[in-house]
Protein backbone atom coordinates (compact mmCIF):
# COMPACT_ATOMS: atom_id res chain seq x y z
CA UNK A 1 0.00 0.00 0.00
CA UNK A 2 1.07 3.55 -0.53
CA UNK A 3 2.69 5.41 2.28
CA UNK A 4 2.02 9.12 2.17
CA UNK A 5 4.57 10.92 4.30
CA UNK A 6 2.94 13.32 6.76
CA UNK A 7 3.00 16.85 5.48
CA UNK A 8 3.92 19.31 8.14
CA UNK A 9 5.90 22.48 8.32
CA UNK A 10 8.81 23.19 10.57
CA UNK A 11 7.02 22.09 13.74
CA UNK A 12 9.87 22.53 16.13
CA UNK A 13 10.72 26.01 15.01
CA UNK A 14 7.10 27.10 14.87
CA UNK A 15 6.52 26.01 18.45
CA UNK A 16 9.72 27.66 19.58
CA UNK A 17 8.73 30.89 17.98
CA UNK A 18 5.43 30.91 19.78
CA UNK A 19 7.11 30.18 23.05
CA UNK A 20 9.71 32.86 22.61
CA UNK A 21 7.49 35.55 21.15
CA UNK A 22 7.92 37.65 24.27
CA UNK A 23 11.69 37.44 24.02
CA UNK A 24 11.91 38.16 20.32
CA UNK A 25 13.99 41.16 19.38
CA UNK A 26 12.94 43.53 16.66
CA UNK A 27 14.31 42.17 13.37
CA UNK A 28 16.64 44.34 11.33
CA UNK A 29 14.41 44.51 8.28
CA UNK A 30 10.69 44.44 8.57
CA UNK A 31 9.81 43.59 5.00
CA UNK A 32 10.59 39.89 4.95
CA UNK A 33 9.56 39.30 8.54
CA UNK A 34 5.98 40.34 8.23
CA UNK A 35 4.72 36.77 8.04
CA UNK A 36 5.86 35.74 11.50
CA UNK A 37 5.08 38.86 13.42
CA UNK A 38 1.42 37.90 13.31
CA UNK A 39 -0.04 37.10 16.75
CA UNK A 40 0.31 33.57 18.11
CA UNK A 41 -3.35 32.88 17.42
CA UNK A 42 -2.50 32.34 13.76
CA UNK A 43 -0.10 29.52 14.50
CA UNK A 44 -1.78 26.28 15.42
CA UNK A 45 0.67 23.58 14.42
CA UNK A 46 -0.56 21.03 16.96
CA UNK A 47 -4.18 21.26 15.93
CA UNK A 48 -3.38 21.13 12.24
CA UNK A 49 -0.86 18.36 11.79
CA UNK A 50 -1.32 18.52 8.04
CA UNK A 51 0.52 21.44 6.62
CA UNK A 52 2.20 22.31 3.33
CA UNK A 53 5.60 20.73 2.81
CA UNK A 54 8.45 23.21 2.41
CA UNK A 55 9.67 23.78 -1.12
CA UNK A 56 12.92 21.86 -0.94
CA UNK A 57 11.20 18.65 -1.99
CA UNK A 58 10.45 20.23 -5.32
CA UNK A 59 6.75 20.68 -4.77
CA UNK A 60 7.55 24.37 -5.05
CA UNK A 61 5.15 27.16 -4.27
CA UNK A 62 3.09 25.29 -1.74
CA UNK A 63 4.13 27.27 1.31
CA UNK A 64 1.27 29.01 2.97
CA UNK A 65 1.91 32.22 4.80
CA UNK A 66 1.39 30.76 8.26
CA UNK A 67 4.23 28.31 8.07
CA UNK A 68 7.90 28.95 7.83
CA UNK A 69 10.10 27.43 5.16
CA UNK A 70 13.71 26.46 5.56
CA UNK A 71 14.94 29.58 3.78
CA UNK A 72 12.96 31.81 6.10
CA UNK A 73 14.32 30.04 9.15
CA UNK A 74 17.84 30.32 7.81
CA UNK A 75 17.21 34.00 7.18
CA UNK A 76 16.15 34.46 10.80
CA UNK A 77 19.15 32.60 12.12
CA UNK A 78 21.54 34.73 10.08
CA UNK A 79 19.85 37.92 11.19
CA UNK A 80 20.15 36.84 14.82
CA UNK A 81 23.78 35.90 14.24
CA UNK A 82 24.75 39.42 13.15
CA UNK A 83 24.62 40.55 16.77
CA UNK A 84 27.50 38.22 17.60
CA UNK A 85 29.76 39.20 14.73
CA UNK A 86 31.69 41.93 16.55
CA UNK A 87 32.70 39.35 19.13
CA UNK A 88 33.18 36.17 17.08
CA UNK A 89 33.79 37.49 13.60
CA UNK A 90 32.04 36.22 10.48
CA UNK A 91 32.23 32.59 11.54
CA UNK A 92 30.19 29.52 12.19
CA UNK A 93 30.48 30.39 15.89
CA UNK A 94 28.55 33.61 15.40
CA UNK A 95 25.88 31.64 13.52
CA UNK A 96 25.75 29.09 16.35
CA UNK A 97 25.23 31.86 18.90
CA UNK A 98 22.52 33.33 16.70
CA UNK A 99 20.76 29.98 16.53
CA UNK A 100 20.95 29.74 20.31
CA UNK A 101 19.12 33.02 20.78
CA UNK A 102 16.29 31.65 18.67
CA UNK A 103 16.06 28.64 20.95
CA UNK A 104 17.65 26.27 18.47
CA UNK A 105 20.54 23.94 19.09
CA UNK A 106 24.04 25.21 18.21
CA UNK A 107 24.22 22.34 15.73
CA UNK A 108 21.89 24.32 13.47
CA UNK A 109 24.97 26.28 12.36
CA UNK A 110 25.83 23.13 10.42
CA UNK A 111 23.22 24.18 7.87
CA UNK A 112 25.61 26.83 6.65
CA UNK A 113 29.08 26.69 5.24
CA UNK A 114 31.73 26.64 7.92
CA UNK A 115 33.53 29.77 6.74
CA UNK A 116 30.64 32.12 7.36
CA UNK A 117 30.13 33.21 3.72
CA UNK A 118 26.37 32.97 3.90
CA UNK A 119 26.33 35.25 6.90
CA UNK A 120 28.30 37.91 5.05
CA UNK A 121 26.22 37.64 1.89
CA UNK A 122 23.07 37.87 4.00
CA UNK A 123 24.38 41.01 5.66
CA UNK A 124 25.32 42.63 2.38
CA UNK A 125 21.94 41.87 0.88
CA UNK A 126 20.18 43.25 3.96
CA UNK A 127 22.22 46.47 3.74
CA UNK A 128 21.38 46.82 0.08
CA UNK A 129 17.68 46.40 0.84
CA UNK A 130 17.88 49.04 3.54
CA UNK A 131 19.59 51.40 1.12
CA UNK A 132 16.88 50.83 -1.46
CA UNK A 133 14.22 51.58 1.11
CA UNK A 134 15.95 54.80 2.07
CA UNK A 135 16.23 55.93 -1.53
CA UNK A 136 12.63 54.96 -2.17
CA UNK A 137 11.44 57.03 0.76
CA UNK A 138 13.48 59.98 -0.41
CA UNK A 139 12.04 59.69 -3.89
CA UNK A 140 8.50 59.67 -2.49
CA UNK A 141 9.22 62.86 -0.58
CA UNK A 142 10.48 64.50 -3.75
CA UNK A 143 7.42 63.35 -5.67
CA UNK A 144 5.14 64.74 -2.99
CA UNK A 145 6.98 68.00 -3.33
CA UNK A 146 8.15 67.92 0.27
CA UNK A 147 11.82 67.82 -0.63
CA UNK A 148 14.09 69.15 -3.30
CA UNK A 149 15.57 66.79 -5.84
CA UNK A 150 19.25 66.56 -5.08
CA UNK A 151 21.85 67.22 -7.74
CA UNK A 152 23.48 64.02 -8.92
CA UNK A 153 26.81 64.42 -7.18
CA UNK A 154 25.15 65.11 -3.84
CA UNK A 155 22.79 62.19 -4.33
CA UNK A 156 25.60 59.77 -5.09
CA UNK A 157 27.63 61.02 -2.16
CA UNK A 158 24.76 60.62 0.25
CA UNK A 159 23.80 57.20 -1.04
CA UNK A 160 27.33 55.80 -0.81
CA UNK A 161 27.84 57.38 2.60
CA UNK A 162 24.56 55.97 3.92
CA UNK A 163 25.45 52.52 2.65
CA UNK A 164 28.96 52.61 4.07
CA UNK A 165 27.74 53.82 7.43
CA UNK A 166 25.90 50.52 7.80
CA UNK A 167 29.30 48.88 8.06
CA UNK A 168 30.35 50.90 11.08
CA UNK A 169 29.18 48.47 13.81
CA UNK A 170 31.09 45.68 12.08
CA UNK A 171 34.04 47.64 10.85
CA UNK A 172 36.65 45.73 12.81
CA UNK A 173 35.76 42.44 11.23
CA UNK A 174 34.91 43.83 7.83
CA UNK A 175 38.34 43.23 6.23
CA UNK A 176 37.88 39.58 7.10
CA UNK A 177 34.50 39.66 5.39
CA UNK A 178 35.93 41.30 2.28
CA UNK A 179 38.58 38.64 1.91
CA UNK A 180 35.96 35.90 2.22
CA UNK A 181 33.79 37.62 -0.39
CA UNK A 182 36.73 37.56 -2.77
CA UNK A 183 37.03 33.77 -2.59
CA UNK A 184 36.36 32.31 -6.03
CA UNK A 185 33.38 30.43 -4.68
CA UNK A 186 31.71 33.60 -3.48
CA UNK A 187 32.59 35.95 -6.28
CA UNK A 188 29.50 35.35 -8.42
CA UNK A 189 27.16 36.13 -5.51
CA UNK A 190 29.10 39.05 -4.14
CA UNK A 191 29.58 40.60 -7.57
CA UNK A 192 25.91 40.18 -8.23
CA UNK A 193 24.98 41.98 -5.02
CA UNK A 194 27.43 44.76 -5.74
CA UNK A 195 26.25 45.42 -9.27
CA UNK A 196 22.58 45.39 -8.35
CA UNK A 197 23.24 47.89 -5.58
CA UNK A 198 25.10 50.19 -7.96
CA UNK A 199 22.31 49.89 -10.50
CA UNK A 200 19.82 50.73 -7.79
CA UNK A 201 21.67 53.88 -6.82
CA UNK A 202 21.87 55.07 -10.42
CA UNK A 203 18.22 54.30 -10.91
CA UNK A 204 17.19 56.49 -8.02
CA UNK A 205 19.73 59.14 -9.03
CA UNK A 206 17.60 59.59 -12.10
CA UNK A 207 19.73 57.80 -14.64
CA UNK A 208 17.55 56.44 -17.39
CA UNK A 209 20.13 56.19 -20.16
CA UNK A 210 20.64 52.95 -22.05
CA UNK A 211 23.53 54.00 -24.25
CA UNK A 212 27.18 53.15 -23.67
CA UNK A 213 27.22 55.69 -20.87
CA UNK A 214 25.40 53.18 -18.70
CA UNK A 215 28.43 50.92 -18.49
CA UNK A 216 30.70 53.83 -17.85
CA UNK A 217 28.56 55.16 -15.02
CA UNK A 218 28.24 51.72 -13.46
CA UNK A 219 31.98 51.19 -13.57
CA UNK A 220 32.73 54.65 -12.25
CA UNK A 221 30.37 54.35 -9.33
CA UNK A 222 31.62 50.85 -8.56
CA UNK A 223 35.14 52.25 -8.51
CA UNK A 224 34.08 55.07 -6.18
CA UNK A 225 32.26 52.70 -3.85
CA UNK A 226 35.04 50.13 -3.65
CA UNK A 227 37.84 52.61 -3.13
CA UNK A 228 35.88 54.49 -0.48
CA UNK A 229 35.11 51.23 1.30
CA UNK A 230 38.79 50.36 1.37
CA UNK A 231 39.74 53.81 2.61
CA UNK A 232 37.18 53.37 5.36
CA UNK A 233 38.85 50.16 6.53
CA UNK A 234 42.01 52.06 7.31
CA UNK A 235 40.46 55.29 8.51
CA UNK A 236 40.94 56.15 12.14
CA UNK A 237 39.74 59.74 12.02
CA UNK A 238 36.84 60.73 14.29
CA UNK A 239 33.51 59.94 12.67
CA UNK A 240 35.31 58.73 9.57
CA UNK A 241 35.59 62.29 8.29
CA UNK A 242 38.61 61.43 6.17
CA UNK A 243 36.55 58.82 4.38
CA UNK A 244 33.69 61.18 3.64
CA UNK A 245 36.11 63.79 2.34
CA UNK A 246 37.73 61.17 0.11
CA UNK A 247 34.28 60.25 -1.14
CA UNK A 248 33.44 63.85 -1.90
CA UNK A 249 36.61 64.22 -3.92
CA UNK A 250 36.05 61.04 -5.87
CA UNK A 251 32.50 62.00 -6.76
CA UNK A 252 33.68 65.45 -7.83
CA UNK A 253 36.34 63.81 -9.99
CA UNK A 254 33.73 61.62 -11.58
CA UNK A 255 31.54 64.58 -12.39
CA UNK A 256 34.36 66.44 -14.10
CA UNK A 257 35.47 63.26 -15.81
CA UNK A 258 32.07 62.78 -17.37
CA UNK A 259 32.36 66.16 -18.98
CA UNK A 260 35.50 65.40 -20.89
CA UNK A 261 35.83 63.49 -24.12
CA UNK A 262 38.15 60.84 -22.79
CA UNK A 263 35.37 58.86 -21.17
CA UNK A 264 36.37 55.39 -22.20
CA UNK A 265 39.91 55.88 -21.04
CA UNK A 266 38.73 57.16 -17.67
CA UNK A 267 36.50 54.16 -17.21
CA UNK A 268 39.47 51.92 -17.69
CA UNK A 269 41.46 53.98 -15.23
CA UNK A 270 38.70 53.96 -12.67
CA UNK A 271 38.36 50.20 -12.87
CA UNK A 272 42.10 49.65 -12.65
CA UNK A 273 42.35 52.00 -9.70
CA UNK A 274 39.58 50.15 -7.96
CA UNK A 275 41.19 46.78 -8.51
CA UNK A 276 44.65 47.91 -7.46
CA UNK A 277 43.27 49.45 -4.31
CA UNK A 278 41.32 46.31 -3.59
CA UNK A 279 44.31 44.05 -4.09
CA UNK A 280 46.59 46.14 -1.89
CA UNK A 281 44.11 46.48 0.92
CA UNK A 282 43.10 42.85 0.93
CA UNK A 283 46.70 41.74 0.98
CA UNK A 284 47.34 44.12 3.87
CA UNK A 285 44.30 42.84 5.66
CA UNK A 286 45.37 39.25 5.07
CA UNK A 287 48.91 39.80 6.30
CA UNK A 288 47.71 41.65 9.38
CA UNK A 289 45.24 38.83 10.03
CA UNK A 290 47.99 36.25 9.67
CA UNK A 291 50.22 38.14 12.06
CA UNK A 292 47.42 38.26 14.59
Amino acid sequence: CQYYPPRRALQASAMLRRASDEHKKEPLTSSSQQHFDSPPADHQPEEKPQGPRPSYTGQGGQESEDYESEEQLQHRILTAALEFVPEHGWTAEAIAEGAKTLGLSVAAAGMFHSDGSELILHFVSECNSKLSELMEKEQKLVQLGEAEKKPIDEFLRDAVEARLRMLIPYIEKWPQALSILLLPRNIPSSLNLLTSMIDDIWHYAGDQSTDFNWYTRRAVLTGIYNTTELVMMQDSSPGFEDTWRFLENRVADAMTMSNTASQVQSTGEAVVQGLMGAAVTVSNAESSRAVR
Partner: protein
Protein backbone atom coordinates in the same frame (compact mmCIF):
# COMPACT_ATOMS: atom_id res chain seq x y z
CA UNK B 1 23.24 -9.30 15.71
CA UNK B 2 24.09 -9.27 19.41
CA UNK B 3 26.07 -12.46 19.12
CA UNK B 4 28.03 -11.20 16.17
CA UNK B 5 29.19 -8.20 18.14
CA UNK B 6 29.95 -10.09 21.28
CA UNK B 7 32.44 -12.18 19.45
CA UNK B 8 33.99 -9.36 17.49
CA UNK B 9 34.10 -6.75 20.28
CA UNK B 10 37.67 -7.25 21.29
CA UNK B 11 39.07 -7.44 17.81
CA UNK B 12 36.75 -4.75 16.40
CA UNK B 13 39.30 -2.02 16.02
CA UNK B 14 41.98 -4.23 14.57
CA UNK B 15 39.55 -5.64 12.03
CA UNK B 16 38.41 -2.17 11.05
CA UNK B 17 41.94 -1.15 10.34
CA UNK B 18 42.77 -4.18 8.28
CA UNK B 19 39.51 -4.31 6.35
CA UNK B 20 39.51 -0.72 5.31
CA UNK B 21 43.27 -0.38 5.20
CA UNK B 22 43.07 2.28 7.85
CA UNK B 23 40.87 4.53 5.75
CA UNK B 24 38.05 4.30 8.28
CA UNK B 25 40.02 6.75 10.42
CA UNK B 26 39.89 9.28 7.60
CA UNK B 27 36.17 8.72 7.16
CA UNK B 28 35.54 9.35 10.83
CA UNK B 29 37.71 12.47 10.73
CA UNK B 30 35.73 13.78 7.79
CA UNK B 31 32.54 13.14 9.72
CA UNK B 32 33.88 15.20 12.59
CA UNK B 33 34.87 18.05 10.29
CA UNK B 34 31.45 18.05 8.76
CA UNK B 35 29.91 18.25 12.20
CA UNK B 36 32.23 21.12 13.14
CA UNK B 37 31.02 21.12 16.75
CA UNK B 38 31.56 24.15 18.93
CA UNK B 39 32.20 23.90 22.67
CA UNK B 40 29.04 23.30 24.63
CA UNK B 41 27.68 20.72 22.21
CA UNK B 42 25.99 17.65 23.59
CA UNK B 43 26.60 14.65 21.36
CA UNK B 44 24.87 11.30 21.37
CA UNK B 45 26.86 8.63 19.60
CA UNK B 46 24.69 5.59 19.01
CA UNK B 47 26.16 2.17 18.28
CA UNK B 48 29.42 3.88 19.10
CA UNK B 49 30.74 0.97 21.08
CA UNK B 50 34.49 1.37 21.03
CA UNK B 51 34.37 5.14 21.16
CA UNK B 52 36.08 6.20 17.94
CA UNK B 53 33.68 9.03 17.24
CA UNK B 54 33.50 10.06 20.88
CA UNK B 55 37.27 10.46 21.21
CA UNK B 56 37.50 12.43 17.98
CA UNK B 57 34.71 14.69 19.20
CA UNK B 58 36.55 15.40 22.43
CA UNK B 59 39.78 16.16 20.60
CA UNK B 60 38.04 18.47 18.16
CA UNK B 61 36.14 20.37 20.81
CA UNK B 62 39.23 20.69 22.94
CA UNK B 63 41.21 22.32 20.13
CA UNK B 64 38.36 24.67 19.24
CA UNK B 65 38.09 25.61 22.90
CA UNK B 66 41.85 26.32 23.04
CA UNK B 67 41.59 28.68 20.12
CA UNK B 68 38.59 30.38 21.71
CA UNK B 69 40.45 30.91 24.97
CA UNK B 70 43.48 32.25 23.13
CA UNK B 71 41.33 34.78 21.35
CA UNK B 72 39.70 35.80 24.62
CA UNK B 73 43.03 36.29 26.30
CA UNK B 74 44.26 38.43 23.43
CA UNK B 75 41.29 40.71 23.94
CA UNK B 76 42.08 41.01 27.60
CA UNK B 77 45.52 42.50 27.11
CA UNK B 78 44.88 45.21 29.63
CA UNK B 79 43.91 43.06 32.59
CA UNK B 80 45.82 43.19 35.81
CA UNK B 81 47.54 40.04 37.06
CA UNK B 82 44.79 39.63 39.64
CA UNK B 83 42.09 39.58 36.99
CA UNK B 84 44.01 37.15 34.80
CA UNK B 85 44.49 34.86 37.79
CA UNK B 86 40.77 34.97 38.52
CA UNK B 87 39.79 34.18 34.98
CA UNK B 88 41.96 31.09 35.12
CA UNK B 89 40.14 30.00 38.24
CA UNK B 90 36.71 30.38 36.77
CA UNK B 91 34.97 27.87 34.55
CA UNK B 92 36.28 29.81 31.60
CA UNK B 93 39.29 27.61 31.73
CA UNK B 94 37.12 24.55 31.46
CA UNK B 95 38.93 22.79 28.66
CA UNK B 96 35.93 21.19 27.00
CA UNK B 97 33.64 24.17 27.35
CA UNK B 98 30.87 22.00 28.80
CA UNK B 99 30.74 19.73 25.77
CA UNK B 100 29.72 16.18 26.48
CA UNK B 101 29.37 12.96 24.59
CA UNK B 102 27.14 10.03 25.53
CA UNK B 103 28.12 6.75 23.92
CA UNK B 104 25.20 4.39 23.59
CA UNK B 105 25.47 0.81 22.44
CA UNK B 106 23.26 -2.23 22.59
CA UNK B 107 26.18 -4.47 23.39
CA UNK B 108 27.84 -4.56 26.80
CA UNK B 109 31.08 -6.01 25.44
CA UNK B 110 31.56 -3.17 23.01
CA UNK B 111 31.00 -0.63 25.78
CA UNK B 112 33.51 -2.43 27.97
CA UNK B 113 36.15 -2.27 25.27
CA UNK B 114 35.32 1.40 24.78
CA UNK B 115 35.72 2.23 28.46
CA UNK B 116 39.04 0.44 28.59
CA UNK B 117 40.23 2.35 25.55
CA UNK B 118 39.18 5.62 27.12
CA UNK B 119 41.12 4.88 30.25
CA UNK B 120 44.11 3.76 28.27
CA UNK B 121 44.13 6.87 26.09
CA UNK B 122 43.49 9.20 28.99
CA UNK B 123 39.98 10.44 28.21
CA UNK B 124 38.21 11.13 31.45
CA UNK B 125 35.88 14.12 31.37
CA UNK B 126 32.86 14.66 29.17
CA UNK B 127 32.25 10.97 28.46
CA UNK B 128 29.35 8.75 29.44
CA UNK B 129 28.65 5.16 28.51
CA UNK B 130 25.06 3.96 28.35
CA UNK B 131 23.59 0.61 27.40
CA UNK B 132 20.66 1.08 25.08
CA UNK B 133 18.79 0.07 21.96
CA UNK B 134 18.74 2.46 19.01
CA UNK B 135 15.09 1.62 18.36
CA UNK B 136 14.14 2.61 21.88
CA UNK B 137 16.59 5.06 23.38
CA UNK B 138 16.66 5.51 27.17
CA UNK B 139 16.73 9.29 26.93
CA UNK B 140 14.25 12.13 27.24
CA UNK B 141 12.97 14.20 24.32
CA UNK B 142 14.83 17.21 23.00
CA UNK B 143 18.08 16.54 24.76
CA UNK B 144 20.96 16.35 22.32
CA UNK B 145 22.54 18.77 19.88
CA UNK B 146 23.96 16.14 17.58
CA UNK B 147 23.12 12.47 17.04
CA UNK B 148 25.65 10.34 15.22
CA UNK B 149 25.56 6.74 14.18
CA UNK B 150 28.71 5.55 12.49
CA UNK B 151 28.59 2.14 10.84
CA UNK B 152 25.79 1.16 13.15
CA UNK B 153 22.56 1.85 11.39
CA UNK B 154 22.78 -1.08 9.06
CA UNK B 155 22.71 -3.39 12.08
CA UNK B 156 19.41 -1.98 13.27
CA UNK B 157 16.41 -4.12 12.43
CA UNK B 158 13.89 -1.32 12.11
CA UNK B 159 15.76 1.61 10.66
CA UNK B 160 12.64 3.76 10.62
CA UNK B 161 12.24 3.34 14.37
CA UNK B 162 15.84 4.27 14.97
CA UNK B 163 15.36 7.39 12.85
CA UNK B 164 12.23 8.31 14.76
CA UNK B 165 14.05 7.90 18.05
CA UNK B 166 16.87 10.06 16.70
CA UNK B 167 14.32 12.73 15.86
CA UNK B 168 12.77 12.50 19.30
CA UNK B 169 15.92 12.92 21.36
CA UNK B 170 17.34 15.77 19.31
CA UNK B 171 16.82 19.37 20.33
CA UNK B 172 15.08 21.65 17.84
CA UNK B 173 17.80 22.70 15.42
CA UNK B 174 19.72 19.53 16.25
CA UNK B 175 21.60 17.56 13.65
CA UNK B 176 21.43 13.92 12.62
CA UNK B 177 24.58 12.48 11.08
CA UNK B 178 24.93 8.98 9.73
CA UNK B 179 28.16 7.47 8.43
CA UNK B 180 27.55 4.18 6.66
CA UNK B 181 28.62 1.92 3.85
CA UNK B 182 26.62 2.67 0.80
CA UNK B 183 26.12 2.05 -2.87
CA UNK B 184 28.92 2.40 -5.37
CA UNK B 185 27.54 3.49 -8.71
CA UNK B 186 30.71 3.40 -10.77
CA UNK B 187 30.58 -0.06 -12.40
CA UNK B 188 34.32 -0.74 -12.55
CA UNK B 189 34.90 0.27 -8.97
CA UNK B 190 31.83 -1.68 -7.97
CA UNK B 191 33.29 -4.91 -9.39
CA UNK B 192 36.61 -4.39 -7.64
CA UNK B 193 34.82 -3.54 -4.42
CA UNK B 194 32.69 -6.70 -4.62
CA UNK B 195 35.75 -8.77 -5.27
CA UNK B 196 37.52 -7.32 -2.28
CA UNK B 197 34.50 -7.62 -0.03
CA UNK B 198 33.62 -11.22 -0.73
CA UNK B 199 37.05 -12.69 -1.20
CA UNK B 200 39.34 -10.77 1.09
CA UNK B 201 37.32 -9.63 4.07
CA UNK B 202 36.01 -12.95 5.40
CA UNK B 203 39.51 -14.36 5.07
CA UNK B 204 40.88 -11.48 7.12
CA UNK B 205 38.12 -12.15 9.60
CA UNK B 206 39.19 -15.74 10.00
CA UNK B 207 42.88 -14.93 10.24
CA UNK B 208 42.69 -11.98 12.62
CA UNK B 209 39.57 -12.58 14.65
CA UNK B 210 39.05 -16.26 14.12
CA UNK B 211 35.56 -15.63 12.85
CA UNK B 212 34.63 -16.16 9.22
CA UNK B 213 30.87 -16.09 9.68
CA UNK B 214 30.62 -12.67 11.33
CA UNK B 215 32.47 -10.98 8.56
CA UNK B 216 30.53 -12.80 5.93
CA UNK B 217 27.45 -11.41 7.64
CA UNK B 218 29.00 -7.97 7.63
CA UNK B 219 29.65 -7.93 3.90
CA UNK B 220 26.18 -9.22 3.12
CA UNK B 221 24.52 -6.68 5.37
CA UNK B 222 26.32 -3.94 3.49
CA UNK B 223 24.87 -5.17 0.22
CA UNK B 224 21.39 -5.36 1.74
CA UNK B 225 21.46 -1.84 3.06
CA UNK B 226 19.40 0.76 1.19
CA UNK B 227 21.35 3.04 -1.18
CA UNK B 228 21.92 6.76 -0.67
CA UNK B 229 18.69 8.16 -2.11
CA UNK B 230 16.54 5.61 -0.32
CA UNK B 231 18.14 6.31 3.00
CA UNK B 232 17.72 10.02 2.35
CA UNK B 233 13.99 9.47 1.80
CA UNK B 234 13.73 7.48 5.02
CA UNK B 235 15.43 10.24 6.96
CA UNK B 236 13.05 12.79 5.49
CA UNK B 237 10.12 10.58 6.47
CA UNK B 238 11.25 10.65 10.06
CA UNK B 239 10.80 14.40 9.97
CA UNK B 240 14.23 15.76 9.24
CA UNK B 241 14.83 18.75 6.99
CA UNK B 242 17.69 19.76 4.75
CA UNK B 243 18.60 16.12 4.33
CA UNK B 244 21.68 15.63 2.24
CA UNK B 245 24.40 13.09 1.69
CA UNK B 246 28.04 13.21 0.79
CA UNK B 247 29.73 10.27 -0.91
CA UNK B 248 33.18 9.35 0.27
CA UNK B 249 35.37 7.20 -1.94
CA UNK B 250 32.84 7.14 -4.76
CA UNK B 251 30.05 5.78 -2.61
CA UNK B 252 31.81 3.09 -0.66
CA UNK B 253 30.83 5.19 2.33
CA UNK B 254 28.29 8.00 2.59
CA UNK B 255 27.54 10.62 5.23
CA UNK B 256 23.87 11.53 5.52
CA UNK B 257 22.92 14.68 7.38
CA UNK B 258 19.56 16.05 8.45
CA UNK B 259 18.24 18.74 10.80
CA UNK B 260 15.34 18.76 13.20
CA UNK B 261 13.77 22.09 12.38
Amino acid sequence: VNQVFESVAKKYDVMNDSMTLGIHRVWKDILMHKMNPCPGTLLLDVAGGTGDIAFRFINYVRSVRQRQLQRKLKHHQNLSWQEIFESYQKDEFNSLGDSQVVVCDINREMLKVGKQKAQHLGYSEGLSWVLGNAEELPFDDDKFDVYTIAFGIRNVTRIDLALQEAYRVLKPGGRFLCLEFSHVSNPLLSRLYDLYSFQVIPVLGEVIAGDWKSYQYLVESIRQFPPQEELKAMIEDAGFFKVDYENLNFGIVAIHSGFKL
